[in-house]
Symmetry: C2
Subunit: 348 residues, 2 copies
DNA sequence: AGATGGAGTTGCTACGTTTTAATCAAGGTC
DNA sequence: GACCTTGATTAAAACGTAGCAACTCCATCT
């Protein structure tokens, strides 16, 4: 009797989800047969299968994942823990993970640690509670303990964008030392004299390795690696980059070349420098890392180090699922990709 | 006997996860008491609680989420389905969702539909299988059917960035008609004559509403709304924007003002125009939508329409959790935020 | 002393599924 | 006709937890 007729759809009528038993009753078979149709369809006769399948459709049956997990002892779910989902680098990795996982019938639970150890820990706890089949993680620091706790539980772990800490684990990474060296080599080739490194939290391996590469490039050019000035920020975001620019500008002498540990930092630095009237690349050469999509769209398009990001996610997932599905034949692997230099306007 | 000593950690020794029974045995209580410590700690005496808690720590017990969900009939999990996690707009929404959800002890399963109905459907299936407590979704089209199927199962649904389709549901949105009008008003105020609208898939409500706003602004200025030229792309990404620019450049006469349905499109269009030597804003005024972080960092910083993105996610989660936790007293709400105009360099 | 009450704890059952072993029917072989 | 084989189906027993009803203490009140 309502004006608009919405009430024809029984709003609060939440009949309980039909179970495998209801399907079995409707199809005139036993619950076990329905389970077979779901999990081993080749084991059941064509006619029966059709009957069960149409019963499933008719009732709108959806398998109860929790019951399934409980009984089977494992789920069809993997956990992915990243440091900053706001960073396009990780978004691309996640895309690679999700694509392959869903091809193989796995669902992905995404956890964002925001660089915080506490949140990372909480995400791992959620993964453990959900009894995920495996975990992909880009650790926010070097502490290996928590991951062993997962493995003890039978949860496979693959490190993403992080080299293996031990031979008995899988890992997929990109050579950050090489990348850092490439970046600084390029700056030096452009005539850089005073090079500074704008980086994130000291605990992050990526930051350390890129620094090592930078120092190596300086040494190779006959310079003292200790000449490398460093501006470390607590986060690797554009906002942090802008603050880094302010720090740099407050110093007596401005470096003439900046290597930023990722593109977000670089974009922030770029904005800060331009706002202060510093010309890029004429006064300061600037190179970032990751080659995110936005690097080529910025005010002064950003030179950067490209990583095979999507491939990174896919490869890591491939290793993880192999370890899950073939635990006996699985051989642990460490895959190391190589980065590329992308030259644009921000460097001389 | 290995050289490096790694084998001290028993690699493959995956002892089964301890259950509530093991904890009970160690603490010398019944399994029911352990369950009480976990779920109703105030019901159990301090000394007993301590004993149980230290047993939990000692064994490294982690609650089996699936068993809990199965028995309790519902999980502590919500599903979030977005159209494009590569778009910073949705990343910010997701941040708002995750923050509030984890404050309230809920885990978030993130699903990315990439604008594909098939993937969206698959995500909803995963949510249903996981028996999530509720679903937050930015629908990729206008079809309400699937959501009713969820509600019938007792899964609450809140629409995000989408107005309610019916009075018996919660929704959180931003007024896109107003936003579209703001954008085109601003273009007209800058002296725009031939305005074009660069948009995404026609089925997307956001695109339709922003267009309606644009037409309204034209009409209000005494112009014929049918003058609004339209370039529709299949995706709302920077790559699609660049293609849109090519399309525009191939036409006889270039518009002198462009309104893009989001910032990614706008950044792509901007790149395409600049590469072709078109000056922005002198020859073409350009405005985007969403005011993502990168809008202010682009070659020519982008004028845009700002939305309270993080708040959008938080508010939607607030409504959803209220509906889940207080189903009796819950009153369905439709929240409509208002957008803001942000003027930068890309418009006259 | 006996009854009452409350706090703390326990035993039991059910949740929906998977899986193993058992059952059954139909057909084939000697 | 007895026996085996093959293929299809089923009955029944778990999996780990939540939550209720029942029970045990022990202190307090009549």
């Amino acid at each position: 009797m309502s004006i608009d007729g919405w009430d024809e759809a029984p709003a609060g009528a939440t009949r309980p989800s039909p179970s495998i038993k209801d399907v079995a009753a409707l199809a005139g078979v036993s619950p076990g047969t329905v389970s077979n149709v779901l999990n081993r369809p080749e084991k059941v006769a064509g006619a029966t299968r059709d009957r069960v399948e149409s019963a499933i459709r008719e009732l709108g049956f959806v398998r109860h994942g929790s019951a399934s997990t409980l009984r089977a002892g494992h789920s069809r779910t993997i956990g992915l823990s990243v440091i900053d989902i706001g960073n396009p680098f990780f978004t691309d990795v996640a895309a690679g993970v999700e694509d392959l996982a869903s091809e193989r019938g796995y669902a992905v639970i995404l956890g964002n640690s925001s660089g915080s150890r506490v949140k990372e820990e909480r995400n791992l706890l959620v993964f453990a509670e959900q009894r995920v089949r495996g975990v992909l993680i880009t650790p926010s620091d070097q502490d290996p303990i928590r991951l062993d706790r997962l493995r003890e539980r039978g949860i496979s772990v693959v490190l993403v964008d992080h080299p293996a800490e031990r031979p008995d684990q899988c890992a997929v990474a990109v050579n950050d030392v090489t990348g850092g060296a490439m970046a600084v080599e390029h700056l030096l080739a452009g005539g850089a004299d005073r090079v500074a490194y704008v980086t994130g939290p000291a605990a992050m391996r990526q930051c350390q390795d890129r620094r090592r590469g930078a120092e190596r490039a300086l040494a190779a050019a006959g310079r003292d690696p200790r000449d490398l000035r460093e501006v470390a920020m607590p986060a690797m975001t554009a906002a942090a980059g802008q603050q880094a620019a302010e720090k740099l500008l407050a110093q007596d002498v401005l470096p003439d070349a900046l290597f930023c540990a990722n593109d977000l930092l670089a974009l922030g630095v770029l904005r800060g420098l331009l706002q202060a009237g510093v010309r890029v690349p004429e006064e300061v050469s600037l190179i970032g890392y990751d080659d995110i999509d936005f690097a080529s769209a910025s005010t002064v398009s950003l030179s950067s180090i490209r990583q095979p990001t999507y491939q990174l996610g896919r490869a890591a997932t491939e290793l993880l699922l192999d370890e899950c599905d073939n635990p006996d034949t699985h051989a642990h692997q460490q895959i190391m990709f190589q980065p590329d230099l992308v030259v644009r306007e921000s460097t001389r």
